[in-house]
């Protein structure tokens, strides 16, 4: 048994490593093609650009591991940004109040998602599709479709440069990723999130309140999305009603690239971060190479296919002997 578990560990290392391998290949490739790519300045830019997707993707990873999904993240980000900017400027209550209200909007949407899924017994896809529309609608209603500008420095600080020359959003990402990692790997809640995604009924029979677990992941995802929206607003110096459209797809892509299975039960923060950085680097690298943005979409899609195929290939290799052993 020990032997097979060490073989498993090797295979699972390879499987997880596939994401990092792809990341490395992309890094080397762009470094060879563009001299500017591998400069500290540019890498910080990549990190800054990636942090928005990565924050959302971390929350998304929680929902995906639990066997669900959260399509409302883009709308939540926009709503959080708009409310925060509105409270800070229109109502004149200042940055702190704005940020708090923005984060609370994430909590509210997360709670709404949880309520629809747990109490309303709706499939996560459908429930969050509905809240995605509601969130976007509320944002447009609140902003009347126009940007909210006039943010002061204490607000835009959150999108700018911080300690050691590293952008503040990257620090925020580091802190959130650290917390998320600890929750998943070191707390009972984390184990129960994996368990719920791996087998909901089994988890319930083990005496776990599965509803609480689901509420937690959607709350967390809502807060992550709101945080991302606040940072985006700070970076743009204004709240734009149409930001975050398609953000959920980037976040899902990052999680899947990072090894999460949409069937639930597997995934992790480190993988998701790597997945987000793959997406971020491709955008940045293609920009440096002056590839037109329309063409970039095509390249992104192709990289996504390649990465998932590679992952599938490695997985097949691993599970093939186990599956036949189970059959007879």
């Amino acid at each position: 048994m020990n032997q097979s578990s060490s073989i498993f560990r090797l295979m699972s290392f390879l499987r997880n490593a596939s994401t990092y391998l792809i990341l490395l290949v992309i890094l080397v490739w762009f470094a060879l093609l563009s001299p500017e790519f591998l400069t500290i300045n540019n890498l910080l830019t990549v990190a800054l650009q990636t942090s928005l997707i990565a924050l959302v993707a971390i929350g998304m990873t929680f929902t995906i591991i639990s066997g669900g999904i959260d399509l409302s993240v883009g709308s939540t980000a926009a709503l959080a940004g708009a409310l925060a900017a509105g409270v800070a400027t229109r109502l004149g209550l200042g940055t702190v109040a704005g940020l708090v209200v923005g984060l609370l909007s994430g909590v509210v949407i997360g709670f709404l998602n949880g309520a629809l899924i747990v109490w309303g017994r709706m499939p996560p896809f459908v429930a969050t599709l509905a809240t995605m529309a509601i969130g976007r609608g509320l944002t447009l209603v609140y902003t009347q479709g126009r940007p909210i500008a006039g943010l002061d420095k204490s607000f835009t600080f959150w999108g700018g440069n911080g300690w050691l020359g590293v952008p503040v959003p990257v620090w925020v990402l580091a802190v959130v990723a650290g917390i998320a990692y600890l929750i998943l790997k070191q707390t009972p809640l984390g184990l129960r999130i994996y368990a719920t995604g791996g087998g909901e009924e089994t988890t319930r029979l083990a005496g776990v309140n599965v509803g609480t677990v689901k509420f937690s992941v959607y709350l967390f995802s809502g807060v992550c999305a709101a945080l991302s929206g606040l940072i985006l607003t700070a970076r743009l110096w204004s709240a734009q009603p149409n930001v975050g459209i398609g953000l959920e797809l980037d976040a899902i892509a990052a999680a899947v690239l990072g090894g999460s299975s949409l069937a639930g039960g597997s995934g992790g923060i480190a993988g998701t971060l790597a997945g987000a950085f793959i997406i971020g680097m491709i955008s940045n690298g293609l920009n440096l190479l002056e590839v037109p943005s329309y063409n970039q979409q095509v390249v992104k899609g192709m990289v996504f296919i390649l990465a998932v195929m590679l992952d599938y290939f490695i997985k097949q290799r691993r599970s093939a002997p186990a599956a036949t052993a189970a059959e007879d």
């Binding site: 048994m1 707390t187 368990a195 083990a206 005496g207």
Partner: protein, 500 residues
């Protein structure tokens, strides 16, 4: 053995589901240090009763008394707190997690307030596994374990709750004889330790080997309860079924025709390493062997699911290449797979759909389906095989195991195959339906169909087969006629032992 106060006493339990009185006025007791076998056909209400005891299903009326005190069990969590655990028929482990994680799920040891104490998780789990003599690492992922290992882990999990009452629901349905022995040893140890055990099984030999007392349920009611010595197998079957089944394995003489399928030196993957045999029309051949000996893989090769590495398959005297299930079906080969829920059925679809899918190509005109013809055939098959279903529109998942299996077989019969491969055809099927499936196999063979049956249940292999092939480590190591086959000879061949 028996104490004065029963560990668990059920008093006048009632439970109705829409349209069914699932449990009706059942009173039952189990004492610490005894094994009570709970038997009955599928749908007799055993599972509902046990789900009530485990807090999965709420009772309509009645009292549950645990060690002399009336208790309410509104949730699985409460049941666990009371020391009641259940080993479910469906494996209740999460494949993505490790053994230790599975065992500690829901009551993870913590330190510094909220953090999981992983060291303790694995130490406790390993201790439990070692204590029971289960050779599995607590750090292994469940997905990497064999079915049998998972079953043993599941038992370790149940025991780790310091259970005072354990319900085992068909725990041996996916175990081989050897693993069953390990399980029995465990169960007997637990009895010595004073645990009360309720053992649900369709295998009557197990019941007589293991149980101290037997309780029989039929149609939601308790029809008999008493010491094991008060029962005989025939009486038990009579009580369960409510009618007499003369023979467990009725065997009619069949006329064997010319060979229809011949395989020579079949090799595939790591599991099949040289298999040769012949199958004749009108013959039932039993394929015996331990789990992992490659039996299922042979079936999968013949059905085009697994790729052939070397060897030849001859069908009706001609060499054939079977590269996909489509090829196999075209030749007239059918496979009733081992795992009917995952591989044999569309669980959420109707009986009509499940049987009718076989006919889609055959019964369509200009690619439009001929629903009337499909309906006709489906109805005939359901009547012929006596599939007990309220209507053809019933979802298959609501049928009992035996009736589900009949649906899978019906789908094949709709296509009139020449060769039918049945992999564990009566696993998790109650005695009544089992006898019907065996009778049906005989009938099909009498009509000239060739049948290859894989089974881990030796009495079934011995009772049904005209000829028996025994596999070990990917090879056919023995071929026995019906007359010369005995349990011992099969086991010796399967395990590679010399005469004891």
């Amino acid at each position: 053995m028996a104490e004065a106060i029963p560990r668990l006493k059920l008093e006048h339990i009632y439970k109705a589901f829409p349209g069914v009185q699932a449990v009706q006025d059942v009173s039952l007791e189990v004492y610490g240090g005894e094994i009570l076998a709970l038997v009955g056909e599928n749908g007799a209400g055993k599972s509902t009763l046990m789900n009530i005891v485990n807090g999965v299903v709420a009772l309509d009326s009645g009292r549950i008394v645990l060690d002399g005190q009336a208790v309410q069990i509104p949730s699985p969590r409460r049941a666990l707190e009371l020391g009641i655990t259940m080993i479910h028929q469906e494996l209740a482990l999460i494949p993505e997690l490790t053994v230790g994680q599975n065992i500690s799920l829901g009551r993870e040891p913590r330190r510094f307030g909220g953090w999981i104490n992983w060291q303790q998780v694995y130490r406790q789990a390993q201790q439990e596994l070692d204590r029971l003599g289960i050779q599995v690492s607590a750090r292994a992922r469940v997905a990497d374990l064999s079915i049998a290992e998972r079953q043993l882990v599941e038992i370790a999990k149940a025991l780790s709750y310091q259970a005072r009452l354990i319900v085992l629901d068909e725990p041996t349905s996916s175990l081989t004889s050897r693993e069953t022995e390990t399980l029995f040893r465990l169960v007997r140890t637990l009895r010595q330790e004073g645990v009360a055990l309720i053992y649900i099984s369709h295998r009557l030999e197990e019941v007589f080997e293991l149980a101290d007392r037997i309780a029989v349920m039929r149609d939601g009611q308790l029809v008999a309860q008493g010491k094991v010595t008060e029962f005989t197998p025939n009486r038990l079957v009579h009580l369960m079924v409510g009618r007499e089944l003369n023979e467990f394995f009725p065997k009619s003489q069949t006329q064997q025709g010319e060979p229809i399928l011949k395989v020579v030196d079949l090799q595939a993957g790591k599991e099949v390493r040289g298999v040769s045999f012949e199958l004749r029309r009108g013959e039932i051949v039993g394929l015996a062997g331990l789990v992992g000996s490659g039996r299922t893989n042979v079936a999968r090769v013949l059905f085009g699911v697994e790729r052939l590495k070397q060897g030849a398959i001859w069908f009706e005297g001609k060499p054939v290449h079977i590269r996909s299930p489509r090829d196999a079906i075209r030749l007239g080969i059918g496979l009733v797979p081992e795992d009917r829920k995952a591989q044999g059925l569309f669980l959420k679809q109707s009986v009509r759909y499940n049987i009718g899918t076989a006919l889609l190509e055959r019964l369509s005109r200009l690619s439009f389906l001929n629903f009337r013809a499909i309906n006709q055939i489906v109805r005939n098959l359901v009547e012929r095989l006596r599939v007990r279903t309220p209507s053809l529109n019933q979802q298959v998942r609501n049928l009992s195991g035996g009736n589900q299996q009949k649906v899978v077989i019906s789908r094949w019969l709709a296509l009139n195959p020449k060769v039918l491969i049945l992999d564990e055809p009566t696993r998790g099927v109650d005695v009544g339906a089992k006898a019907e499936i065996h009778a049906l196999m005989n009938e099909l063979a009498a009509q000239g169909m060739a049948i290859l049956m894989i089974s881990s249940e030796l009495p079934e292999v011995l009772g049904v087969s005209d000829r028996i092939l025994v596999m070990r480590e990917g090879r056919v190591v023995a071929e026995l006629t019906r007359a010369e086959a005995t349990q011992d000879r099969i086991m010796q061949a399967a395990t590679g032992q010399i005469e004891r």
